[in-house]
Symmetry: C2
């Protein structure tokens, strides 16, 4: 019998599943659509079926599984393994997902916030290796996060810690989807970055992005970085605002939990050093002069696999208990 840990990243559109050995090496992974409208039982059946198939294709059996980790978006009562409600999975209300999965496989399972799972993946095997205190941001449609202090994920009183995208950096600033104003997400997510560019063009700012906007009817943060690389002035200005917002949130995090490393992940890090260097520039511009800070600001290392790796690593932890 082998030792297999299963890591599952359950999203509103796709389910990613990975099988890992005892050293957390990826043996095989797959992805399938969630079919979220069919409801929790169908989704669980899909997970069970797909996992079984993945193992079989690789000469393994469900008997080899030691434990299962599942990352999924909140709000959830993760410590109880229950999805309370999820904007992207409307049919999931008070679903005891952990128990359903655990019962099916007759193995221990753990439910974790998807950003926390990815954070834990980077912590164990990626950009956070060899540190005890790390903070993690995902720059996507919104901004998610994870906080690790003393080598442990911070869950908070009601399992809703690390909603880092909703740290207010400009009170009474841009409206955020959450109902607050001035959240870092309203400036520096991939969506907000693109949106600020569109708004500026609509207000008459000159930019090589205008032609694209006229043609496609929309632009993405990727477009912004591409035009920045080609020397567009508006793209530079938009990127600077994104970087400055992220730098201020880095400073605020530093003065709260003082991580050794702050790791950015998500589609937007494809921008590369052109973004990272500007975040560091604004961090140094705004940081105090009381002492010189040595926090490392860097990009994630595991790409899209961080979620399944982190879920498997969390599964390994509960199996060791």
């Amino acid at each position: 019998m082998k030792t297999i840990f299963v890591g599952i990243d359950l999203g509103g559109t796709n389910i990613k599943i990975g099988c890992f050995d005892a050293q957390l090496n990826l043996i095989a992974k797959t992805s399938t659509s969630t079919n979220v409208d069919m409801g929790p039982q169908v989704v669980v059946d899909r997970i069970v079926h797909t996992t079984g198939g993945l193992l079989q294709d690789n000469g393994l059996s469900v008997e080899d599984i030691r434990s299962i980790g599942i990352g999924t978006p909140g709000p959830a009562k993760y410590c109880d393994g229950i999805i309370i409600a999820s904007p992207n999975m409307p049919a999931f209300k008070n679903v005891p997902l952990r128990k359903m999965i655990s019962d099916h496989f007759d193995r221990p399972a753990i439910l974790e916030n998807d950003a926390n799972a990815a954070c834990w993946g980077e912590y164990v095997l990626g950009a956070g290796k060899n540190v005890q205190d790390m903070v993690f941001f995902t720059l996507g449609t919104g901004i998610g996060g994870g906080v690790i202090t003393n080598g442990k994920l911070v869950h908070g009183f009601a399992d809703n810690a690390a909603e880092l995208g909703h740290i207010i950096i400009y009170p009474n600033g841009r409206k955020c989807g959450c109902g607050q104003k001035g959240c870092v997400e309203a400036y520096a997510s991939a969506n907000s970055t693109a949106k600020r560019a569109v708004e500026a063009i609509e207000k008459g700012a000159k930019s090589s992005l205008k032609k694209l906007l006229d043609e496609k009817g929309t632009i993405t943060s990727k477009d912004v970085y591409e035009h920045l690389a080609n020397g567009d002035k508006l793209a530079k200005q938009i990127t600077d605002q994104t970087a400055e917002a992220l730098a201020i949130v880095c400073i605020n995090i530093l003065h709260t939990t003082e991580p050794q490393r702050i790791v950015f992940a998500g589609g937007m890090i494809a921008a590369g050093n052109i973004l990272l260097d500007r975040i560091k520039y604004y961090f140094n511009k705004h940081i105090w002069s009381m002492k010189s800070e040595t926090v490392e600001i860097c990009f994630a290392a595991l790409g899209e696999d961080a979620g399944i790796i982190g879920a498997a690593a969390l599964a390994q932890q509960i199996s060791a208990k």
Copy 2:
């Protein structure tokens, strides 16, 4: 032989010392001037001598001591028990205070940041009782803080976590002593609250505080709250700005470590509900609508003894190891 834990609060002006029994009941306390200019060895001698006298006066002996906790301002390498440098204790450079005290009494000792010690005191015996996740602010000359997650103080990578006064809430706002702009300390400390009132009067704002300023040449945050209680309009405006700044920092903390309770301490809480109610008002005004938050925002319960209580409670922890 009895079981005594000693809690010491070492400041630039005074040393407070308390002796506690095994249930952390205060047996006796005293205070003496630090004589900080005389250097570390003299200060240690004063601590040893004063502690001995305090015990003797209460029918106890140094033999009864189990362990000693010391709270002191940073920057320090607390985990190594060394004061690196302290703005209020210029003669203290790389002083191994923990070892000096421990050697003198031949007992284990622990060194902790003074705000962290007070935070721990409130956590164990005061406003933070019966919670696992708490954040603590001291509103004094500056703003200090402490963060507890999963029942543990967060120290951060370089022992400088919880510098909560330097969370930036208004980028490019008021200049802070730390070199940053827009720190919450630059708006909502006792000093900054008074300073904003003085600035407004000097700019011509009408206020009953003007007469006081003309007479005394200065005003304090206490004056602001007294005049607020008497219906002064400027005092209300100044207090509202203080409360709004503190509310925004509460929101940002909530989205980071999600404490169950946020506790404010320091001289300024003497203002009472007139301040606390406004903090809660602005918290509710600015907080997201994604879910209803149940964080309790309250004032500290232990007054000036929080530091020695917390130091003794930390001493108790190391003695239990």
